[in-house]
Amino acid sequence: MAHPLSDLRRGSTPAWLGLAARLIVGGVMIAAGLIKLPDPAASIESVRAFELVPASLVEPIGHLLPPLEVVVGLALVLGLMTRGAAVISAVLLVAFIIAIASAWARGLEIDCGCFGDGGANPDAASQYPWEIARDVGLLALSVFLARLRSSRLALDSLLFRPPVVPEPTPALDDLNEGSLP
């Protein structure tokens, strides 16, 4: 009756998969953010190249994305506020997928700027499907992490106290014993 993911225990297979998903999504986020972090101007131009957001929001978004990616990536790798970080990561990836798909649909030939180096790119059309596939994969892992209670080697397990497993009450025990043959 319970959701298959709702009663996961640490040490079970999904908890190890959770660690793997954290390292993959977090690692990609950190790499993408760190490359863009030293060059805010390039990050702004990557955002502008999509011609999607109003002029007044181009620069704020360009400044926001690199540090946000690094912090969300670090949180995922360390397993700190994992579910919250996974939700933000999922929201970002949905936005990236929409942006790339829309650029593709409008016939723009731009580098997605995902890992720096935005702007024009004559080969863009052949790369859009791979970029979208990559982001869909990362989105799936992020959604999985957002639904997972806990994973292995996460700082969350030090930070947060786990729920006390309710001990079976004597009355229930009696009942159970009574029902046993």
Binding site: E45, E59, H63, L64, P67, V71, M81, V164, T169
Partner: protein
């Protein structure tokens, strides 16, 4: 009669005990949740603070653009009359695709506005895309040679021709012969410009011009400075180009 096993009195005692235990557990659970919420809020707040601090540093670094006055560089090309009401400085790399977009959108409009006397434009070609090959520096060198040998008007024409026929950022790149052809097409004398274009006679100045732009806080091309302030108003560079022309016309 009165001493049956499992009297109601004993059962009540057990029930009271259970109830007490349940209350204690519920209380512990409440406390645990409150404590976790507090810790989550603190850690979440700290992470948020890191992001905000990084954005602050990031935006501050973008403000370091030193006010660039028209005519303040030895390596610029000035179009229009000094003292025009609006001043525009444009840092650009002949290889940068967005610079091509800016030129396509604003080149003619700026020239018309400069001719009408409403703006004076200082074009400052620099070479920052050297990682793609020699074209970035070769083209600026050729520009400086043409300007030196044939004057500002021919250099402006050469500049326009280079952007009109811009190679892709990743190549293939035209050679110096092509640059000489364009210079001649712009109106330069081949014998005067060929040696300088082929030998890179102004390469030191290319480096100096690029360094000067970097010192002024230019972080990429194109950088448009309108009356001393970076101008980036638009959701695309086509729109920025249109807005710029509208602003100065």
């Amino acid at each position: 009669m009165s001493n049956k096993p499992g009297t109601p009195k004993g059962a009540a005692k057990v029930r009271a005990k259970e109830q007490r235990a349940a209350e204690l557990r519920a209380e512990a659970e409440r406390r645990r949740r409150a404590e976790n919420l507090k810790r989550g809020a603190i850690v979440g707040g700290l992470l948020l603070l890191v992001v905000v601090a990084a954005i602050f540093i990031s935006t501050r670094s973008g403000e370091d653009l030193v006010a660039s006055d028209v005519g303040s560089s030895d390596y610029g090309l000035i179009v229009g009359e000094a003292g025009a009401p609006r001043e525009v400085v444009i840092y650009e790399d002949f290889l940068c695709p967005i610079c091509g977009v800016l030129e396509e959108g604003a080149g003619e409009g700026l020239a018309a506005a400069a001719a009408a006397g409403t703006v004076v434009v200082d074009y400052r070609p620099i070479a920052i895309l050297n990682r793609f090959g020699p074209y970035s520096a070769d083209s600026v060198n050729a520009f400086l040679v043409v300007q030196q040998e044939a004057g500002d008007e021919v250099a402006k024409e050469f500049h326009d021709l280079l952007f009109a026929d811009q190679p892709a950022e990743e190549g293939p790149f035209p050679d110096t012969d092509w640059l000489v052809e364009k210079a001649v097409e712009a109106g330069a004398d081949e014998a005067a410009v060929r040696p300088g274009i082929e030998d890179g006679s102004r390469m030191d100045d290319v480096e100096a011009a690029t360094q000067e732009a970097e010192d002024a806080g230019v972080q990429g091309t194109p950088t448009v400075v309108l009356d001393g302030v970076a101008f980036r108003d638009g959701k695309s560079w086509e729109e920025i180009a249109d807005n710029l022309v509208e602003e100065v016309s």
